[in-house]
Amino acid sequence: MIQSTFFYTTAIILFLIGLYGVLTKRNVIKTIITLTIMETAVNLFLVTIGYVKNGTAPIFTSTISDVHKFVDPLPQALVLTSIVIGLGTTALMLSLAIRLYKKYKTLNYLEMDGEDEK
């Protein structure tokens, strides 16, 4: 079955790509995209922590109820919450981006110096 180190490495690589993007990109919406990538990477990392080799989904059904083969449900609960938090922050950041664009007519963060800067 799948080696979980593989998922850990993908998660970390994705996280680092996102971090690199945040630090270098100047476009407002591009930064939001890179932050979302980072959040997905962290979610992938969290779920891989709960992954048990050849386990089954932690749900009792009429056919499956062998408790010891269950995958760890707690990281999944955490990821459930963190995905929705990610959605919340992304929605807020995007509305900020819209208001910034309406005010400064540009999405490039460097060129946003309005008159009330001084």
């Binding site: 790509i17 591009k30 990538i37 891989t48 990610g86």
Partner: protein
């Protein structure tokens, strides 16, 4: 089966790089959608159906919609 998973992981990383480097914002939003779609597939393969559905509905579905709305109200080129 294993090859499929390794392949999807590679696609995920490529779509993430694409999302970061694409000049056109819509293209990078689509790449982001692909990325979260593949992640929800991986969640499913890791026996986390709950998270898979949520990631699909929120990550692929709604986030992309919100991004498109935002681009509609601002501009497309970087």
């Amino acid at each position: 089966m294993i090859v499929l998973i390794y392949l999807s992981a590679i696609v995920m990383i490529i779509s993430a790089l694409y999302a970061v480097y694409a000049k056109d914002l819509l293209v990078s939003v689509v790449a982001l959608g692909i990325n979260s779609l593949i992640v929800s597939v991986l969640f499913f393969l890791m026996h986390a159906p709950d998270v898979a559905i949520t990631e699909a509905a929120i990550g692929a579905g709604l986030s992309t919609a919100i991004f498109v709305f935002a681009i509609k109200h601002t501009e497309r080129k970087e």
